[in-house]
Structure formats: structure tokens, C-alpha cells
Point group: C2
Chain length 335, copies 2
DNA sequence: CCTGGTTTGTACAACGTTGTAAGCAGCGAT
DNA sequence: ATCGCTGCTTACAACGTTGTACAAACCAGG
């Protein structure tokens, strides 16, 4: 049995609007009236119809988080933080899994239940700035690298610097034949390009020549791709003494392939990743990695969105950089 | 600029309702009228206001999936399947992270944006049947073991049989001192109780005496808990030759602890898990585990919900059992 | 006891959509 | 021509809520 304001009003002997005022915490309601209304609400177990409220107010209290895949640990961890941060603003988060394809992403960006969400936090893989330009004014915050200097707010980590630091760490361990896993030539590979740039910069810093044969592409960044890429590297005979994988799942796959090849980590080959997912703290060996501050990323994204929604809808787009640090563990230990 | 049916109607020179009819695929609209309306829709980039539609229809097209934690791989993988299955019914999935606490779960079950979702797929940890009985008629499907024979539809795997099979497999490897990790005495530990029952049944089948000291509790089922429990087992001097962990993350933690203790898996200690998460296919060693058919679980849950929503709202609650199989890998290999 | 201001409560319309009932063509059969 | 039918379109009301405008009740000060 579902009740409406009208039912509560009749029971409490007041008008519908007075009940609405009580529900919304309007100040000028006499204490005894308020008490009577609240009693009626409790008795009927009344709860407001949000569709109606949304229709009336033009706001839904829901924001969406669109990510390529939920079972990629990085996105799952990020999702958790976004949900927490959004709760602090009284928002519910609708999580949308795009799959990463351009068509689905376009749909996600433009279509997610129109008028059903107030704003969108979007981690695109395939989307271009042009795609986004076509979206008439859905408040949006982008995560990651794909669309640089686009028309929307943006939260990033300094991929180039981070990749450069972790590669420099491998250099500091005395490694010279440092491979990279995860390069991508597709337009989607913006993160890959930036991390590759950091890698090459670190090599240049150390006066190590860039060797094309040590850079292995990976179509996606899953464990299986990392394992395949590592096997490929080993099969070509260019034996690396370290590998920088462009994310942690690639690195976990690489660990597996090295294990199968009978190579010891880090003795024979040091391994480093990127993302600092939970798995890397328990893998064998534990994983050295770049640890972006996911909690901060989530909080900044939610705050940017909040700002755009509540105070300044037409502010020029901002780009915020979230901090990162190196988490050095067994696979490439502290010098 | 956001447009309404009215704007489209004016542009196309028809009534509002005719536009609505076109949008909803109503049959009796003359071809040229339809074309004119569709042109106007395209020109204005009209998209319907779902809040209004929901208000009018009493349906939102959104179902919620409530899970304890998104960054537990099992739930993330499950979420992916639920999203896919729901898409097949034209539903959007709102993913709600309860945290697993009783209070939050009660709120999730009763409160998630009232009138904002048509139904709920709920994987509770702490909720009792009594809690659920109080929910006036939100269509709901439960996953997992916590609330048996409650008032709602239910999708389960046969935990007892599955635990018994995987334990029997360890017995079949010739192991006799088989430990269990993950027992819980709290009321939340329904899955733990069932898996423990399967474990003891398998021991009884093999004529092995149950040894209390081989059963290690774990407050939660994370990697860290598994590692801690394993360390505890090793420290007590009851050296097991196999371990059945009640889920995969516990098992990954146990692998880690065994590695740190210098024990070989599976030679010294065989390890088995439960859930078949992606990590277990790439860990070192790879993980033998019970593989519940997550895709099927998700599909059954969505179908139960669909049935309740569209055809038979007052049908008696049903309980469906999803199949499982053993995935035998390096940590406890095939005979 | 009136005046003027504040507090408290009400009636009505509106948000954008769809279901209902009814209107109006066009057409074949009387 | 007129009748009824079918096919297409329309006006109106309603979903449950809140903003606006206003009325009623109250209070203090003259």
C-alpha cells in the first residue's frame, strides 16, 4: 500500500502543502501541527514519490558514473570511492557500464535516462572531443586522458610524470634493458601514449637508448593481455631485466608469464605496474606500482560536478590533477 | 536547450499526443504524419523526460542491484552480468553499495530512491527475514544464503554440495589434514555455515576426523583476512597439507601467507577457493576453485524479477538453484 | 480596539508525460 | 445521399509533488 501526501494530509487534518512543508523541513510550521503531521507520516509509512518530486523540481538527486568495465579492479575501486564521495553530497550514484565501445559510450554520454540524472562522471576510452561537443549541456566530469582540453571538467593524474618516476626507479635498481607493456596505437590509447612518453623520457634521462623491440603492445589492459605480451617479449630473444606495465592487471599477467618461463622476479626481471589495485598487495611477488590517489580523484570529480550543478553552471571547464606516489614492493623493491 | 513534446508538436503541426504516439511506437499513425513528427524530433534533438513518464506510468525502467562491496571481485563480476541481463529487458541498473552493515542494508532494501526503482536484486550479508518482511511490497530477488525461505524470490548455489565436492577433491589428492578458512559465528555468516557443513560432510565421507584446530575463522573474506588466518594456522603448529578457503580472495591471501612461510603450493599444501574470480586464473600458482555460474545467477535473478514485475506480482516466492562446477588448476590440480 | 507586521496555513497551477474518450475524416455499403 | 465503420487525430485529465500568491490567525504597540 503506497500513500501520498494527500493521504497524510487527510489523516493529519491539514492541507497537502503543509505536509509537503513538514517533509521538506520548512521553518514556519507550528510545533503541534508538525507533530501531528509527523505522526500521520509514521503511521502511514509515507515516503515521497521521487518521480513526482523530480518532475517538479527538475532535479533527481542521482548522478551517473560511466566506466568501461566494472570487473576491472581499478574501476571497481574508483566506483567505491565515487559512491562514498557522492553520498556526502546527498547523491545516489547510478553506475553505468559502457563496455568501452565508441557507440555505447556515445549512448552513455548522451542518453543515460534523460532527465533521470543530474550529472555524469565519465571515464571514456573511445570517445572523442567531438562526440562530447554534441551533448547539449549535460553537466559532466571526465576522468582519464582520452579527451584532452575538451569542453568539460576533467580530473587526471600526471601520467607522464608518474610513468617517468617508476621507470626511473627501475633504472635506479641498475636495470638497463627495461621493457614496456601496454602500448597502443589506436586513438583510444591516450593513457598508453602518455605513459609511454614518461617511459621514454626516463630512459633518455638515464642515457639509455630506446629500443623498439622492448615495447610490447596490448590490445586491452587485462591480465591475459599482459601475459601474452610478456610471452611475446621473451620469445623474441630480447631478454629484458625489467618491465614497466602500463597498468597493474597487465603486470599481474606478466608476473604469471615470467613464472611460467621459470624467471625469478625481481632477481631476473623486475616488474612495475600502474594503478595500485588491491591484488598487487597480495600477489607473489607483491607488485611495485604507481599509486594514484583514487579517493582524491573521486572526491575532486564529485566536487567539480557539485560546483557545476549548484553554483556556477557556465564556468569555463577546469582540469584538476590528482596526486600519485610510488608504492614499492617486492617485484621492484626499494633500492 | 531542452525540448518538450509540446515543442515538437508545434513544429510538426500536430497535437502533443500524436507526438507521444510516435515516440511510443503506437500503430495507427499515418506514414506522412509520423515522418513529419520524426523530422521535428530529430531537428530539436528531443528526448523524453523520464521523470514525467515515470510519474505517469508508475514504472521507472530502473532496477537496483545492492551488493556489500563493489571492489570485491565476485560482486564486481556479478554486477557486470546483472547489467547485461537487465539490458536485455530494457532495464537500467542502479548499483548500490551497502557496505554490508545491517543499518545500511535495511536502508538500501527499503529506501533506495522510493518510486525510483521498479525492483531490487539484493545480496544481503546482515539482513534477517524479519527486516525483509517489513518492506511493503518492493519486488525483490535475493542472492546468496542469508535469508532462507524468506518472503522473497531467491537465487542460490548449492553451497553445501559445492563445498563438499571441492573438499572431496582435496581428499582425492591424498590429503588428510585439510584446513578450512573463513568460518564465521555471526548471524551474517550463512554462506560460511553452509560451506563449513559441506567441508565437514566431505571429511565424514572420507572417514577423516573433524579437527577443530584446522578450522580458522575470518571476520571478513578479504585477502588480508585469508593471509592472517593462514599465518595463524601455521603458527599453531597443526601443519595442514591442504586448505579449503570459503572464497577466492581468502585463498589468494592464504597463498601469499604460505609463500611467505616458505611452503610450496600444492606440494606442501594444496589450496582451494570458492567463486572463480578472474584473479585466480593468473595467480601464482593458479587457483583451484568452485565456479558458480555467475552469468546464470544474474540471468535467473533478472528473470525472476521480470516475472514478478510484469506477469504475476503475487506469485509465491520461488527459490532457484544456479549450477556450479569445479575449476581445477595448479593449487590443487586434477588427480 | 484598531493597525500593521509577522507567522502559519491554504488553494491553485504547473512540471512533462500518457490513458481515456471522443471527434473527424474518408470510404464502402445501403 | 446517408449510414456506420475504420483509421487517424485531438482535447482533457491525471500521475504526486512543490512554488506562488494569498488568506487567516496571531501578536505587539498605539
Amino acid at each position: 500500500m503506497r500513500h501520498r501526501l494527500k493521504d497524510v494530509a487527510e489523516r493529519a487534518g491539514v492541507s497537502v502543502k503543509t505536509v509537503s512543508n513538514v517533509v521538506n523541513g520548512y521553518q514556519h510550521v507550528r510545533a503541534d501541527t508538525r507533530a501531528r503531521v509527523e505522526a500521520a507520516i509514521a503511521e502511514l509509512n509515507y515516503r515521497p514519490n521521487l518521480s513526482a518530486r523530480n518532475l517538479r523540481k527538475g532535479r533527481t538527486g542521482v548522478i551517473a558514473l560511466a566506466v568501461p568495465e566494472l570487473d576491472i579492479p581499478y574501476f571497481a575501486e574508483l566506483a567505491r570511492h565515487v559512491v562514498s564521495a557522492a553520498a556526502g553530497h546527498g547523491w545516489t550514484v547510478l553506475i553505468d557500464q559502457t563496455g568501452g565501445g565508441p557507440e555505447q559510450e556515445r549512448k552513455a554520454a548522451s542518453g543515460i535516462g534523460d532527465h533521470m540524472i543530474d550529472g555524469l562522471i565519465f571515464s571514456p576510452l573511445a570517445l572523442t572531443a567531438d562526440d562530447l561537443a554534441g551533448l547539449d549541456g549535460m553537466p559532466m566530469v571526465l576522468l582519464g586522458e582520452r579527451v584532452d582540453h575538451g569542453p568539460a571538467d576533467h580530473v587526471v593524474v600526471d601520467n607522464v610524470a608518474a610513468a617517468r618516476e617508476i621507470t626511473a626507479h627501475l633504472v635506479g635498481l641498475g636495470r638497463r634493458r627495461i621493457a614496456a607493456i601496454g602500448s597502443q596505437r589506436t586513438p583510444e590509447g591516450a593513457s598508453a601514449r602518455l605513459r609511454l612518453a614518461g617511459y621514454t623520457a626516463a630512459l633518455a634521462d638515464a642515457g639509455i637508448a630506446y629500443d623498439d623491440r622492448l615495447v610490447a603492445p596490448a590490445p586491452a589492459w587485462h591480465r591475459a593481455d599482459g601475459a601474452a605480451a610478456m610471452r611475446h617479449l621473451l620469445s623474441t630473444g630480447v631478454r629484458p631485466d625489467a618491465v614497466f606495465c602500463f597498468n597493474d592487471t597487465l603486470a599481474l599477467g606478466a608476473l604469471r608469464a615470467l613464472h611460467e618461463a621459470g624467471l625469478r622476479v625481481p632477481d631476473d626481471v623486475a616488474v612495475a605496474g600502474f594503478d595500485d589495485i588491491e591484488d598487487g598487495r597480495f600477489s607473489i611477488p607483491t607488485l611495485s606500482t604507481v599509486a594514484p590517489d583514487k579517493e582524491r580523484i573521486a572526491r575532486l570529480a564529485v566536487e567539480l560536478l557539485a560546483n557545476r550543478l549548484t553554483s556556477d553552471p557556465d564556468a569555463p571547464p577546469r582540469e584538476l590533477v590528482a596526486p600519485h606516489r610510488l608504492a614499492l614492493r617486492e617485484s621492484a623493491p626499494q633500492g
